[in-house]
Symmetry: C2
Subunit: 371 residues, 2 copies
């Protein structure tokens, strides 16, 4: 079985979940807190995880729903204390994986999540945290190898914490766990993985190893995302999309660009991240094309684009083929909201690594075309 | 300046050496032991490193020569103790970089290097080691991001220690430092970098992110190694070869194959590793070709091979073009030694990750063709 080590130890293959008990032992976790959500529980995945944790019996917290909140984090920390836990297992999508990072951090460091906010110098206050194991159940965010977590504070604003110390000690990627994902969620999370590869390739940060991984992510998504969406039982497609998502996470150190910058304020309106990205990406690619000709040529080769077609057209067609919405207006955004969103996206740090430096009016134009 | 983080923090660019003083501070190294060799000192690189360490004045040990030995390690540990050091800086090629790992290990753990030998379960005895900074001065081994060190014991045998804990905390890759490397050493170390990319791509281990990095290593070497060899002042070629060597080190977790297995017993005869690899690789590729058709097709595309040519022929031609010897007989090996070498190479762990499983007679045939 492939064992991939960058910062985390990554077990990757069908049946990888069977490594859970050995990995808990290796990390000396004897009383794990398992965070997950109701969907994972009802899909039978929670049972599979619990079985693999045996002989340990984790304390289960399955109330994650949507973006993780400070209240939810508080609840989990109370469970942690009540059961004297000493490590976290996270089984779920990006929200659950983020929550696990925040629990490991606060259970070891105390204080509140704002004390570690990246923009207030919080990263330097993060030392060694409690061990945690990440088990992604979708193929999208790549949060299983990420170093950041985002929490929604009581007032509604977002708190972002970033540290290599928070990266999961062990990642278990078992494509079997993604088999029950609906076509819609397969498509929406898969587009997110693809967008990480594309935006990383196009970004203005120089990092050839990350670019190489991003390129492999893009060609894997181009080949396998339609299969995984249209036939969820296609195991080869599930394996490859989970690998693409992992690669999308690994290449994030090359940063991202304007599609993710624009998706940040839009995401705060409660719209699914991958779905938003599918709508925004073609328009951002049209805007960026002249600014990164080499990257766009690579993308053309990676997805076997005919000379007459553009990467933007190809993404737009793919989004439509896999049944995702193509316009912001379909997602409940009103035209009147666009100006404020354009303005807020300017302040997102990913705007600075987009290959072309946008002005607020550029963002407004992109949003209007996407509307 | 690109900041690349996998396990190590990697500063990579012209002028990266200027980060040394800030990195020493970040790692809280106040009394560094600097290990290097006389060649680095006479090329003026040592002065450049010392200048960048200012205001700190490292204790310098510049007596590394060839493969590092247990005696040399002992000397360094005595310097460490005498000056109450608390961190290591290594400036040099693979030997110096390996030595630094062994110093960090023994200065923090005590005992002798054999206590940590990988085949005797020594890796599990390796905990947190003293911080160290790796500064490669050649573009070849990729040891700057490696997790292994090889020491020659008093009896002449080799002791290999492996642990992620020994990976350099910070790597400073400054292509300027490779500018004074002779054409012969540029060629011999560059072929080693290329061989890491090729053997990793061809190996039977599944690791797509490492394969993607290996592919980028191969295409970079194909394009830039002749330039770096024939015109050492070509800064773009130096940048790209240093990046290729780094990528060659990063992809090693996909393992290597028979060229490196055969080079292990041959290397113990005191022959330069990269030079050996240049001789062996074409013959190993001919032997492997049928066993890994997809990898060979990728290599063909990466180096723009015409349909009629093979990867083996291409490597053979490159080795000749950059002025390296093409036969083992030119390296002082006698025909009578080949059988024993074939037998010993069978026991090297890299034989098991070669895509085709060799028998001792296969290794003998390869060695005879290379002789």
């Amino acid at each position: 079985m492939p064992l991939i080590e960058y910062v985390s130890r990554i077990h990757f293959d069908f049946g990888a979940i069977n490594q859970l008990s050995a990995e808990l032992e290796l990390l000396a976790i004897t009383r794990p807190l398992l965070v997950t959500d109701k969907g994972i529980a009802s899909a039978g995945i929670l049972d599979r995880v619990l079985e693999s944790a045996s002989p340990l019996i984790p304390v289960v917290h399955d109330r994650t729903a949507g973006d993780p909140t400070e209240e939810l984090l508080q609840e989990c920390l109370e469970s942690w204390k009540a059961h004297d836990c000493n490590g976290v297992i996270a089984a779920g999508g990006g929200s659950v994986l983020d929550l696990a990072k925040a629990i490991s951090l606060l259970a070891s460091h105390g204080g509140s999540i704002q004390d570690y906010e990246v923009n207030s110098g919080g990263s330097s206050r993060i030392g060694r945290v409690h061990p945690h194991i990440a088990i992604p159940t979708a193929a999208g965010t790549g949060a299983e190898v990420g170093r950041a977590c985002v929490m929604t504070l009581k007032g509604g604003s977002k708190c972002v914490c970033v540290s290599l110390k928070m990266v999961a000690n062990t990642v278990i990627c078992d494509p079997e766990l993604t088999q029950s994902l609906s076509p819609r969620m397969t498509a929406a999370t898969g587009i997110d993985a693809l967008s990480h590869g594309i935006e990383a390739l196009v970004s203005n940060v120089i990092n050839p190893p990350a670019a190489a991984i991003a390129a492999d992510c893009v060609s894997r998504c181009a080949r396998w995302l339609p299969h995984a969406t249209h036939d969820g039982s296609d195991l080869r497609a599930r394996w490859n999309m989970m690998m693409a998502a992992l690669e999308g996470g690994l290449c994030l150190q090359k940063s991202l660009g304007s599609a993710h910058a624009l998706a940040t304020p839009l995401g705060e309106l409660g719209i699914h991240h991958g779905t938003l990205i599918g709508v925004l990406l073609p328009h951002v690619l049209r805007y960026n094309r002249e600014a990164a000709p080499d990257a766009f040529e690579s993308i053309g080769q990676l997805v076997s684009l005919p000379a007459s077609a553009t990467a933007a057209d190809w993404v737009e067609q793919l989004v439509s083929d896999i049944g995702l919405p193509g316009r912001l207006s379909e997602l409940g955004i009103s035209q009147g909201q666009l100006q404020a969103i354009a303005k807020r996206a300017m302040g997102v740090h990913l705007t600075a690594t987009n290959p072309r430096r946008p002005q607020p009016e550029d963002y407004l134009k992109i949003l209007e075309k996407a509307w």
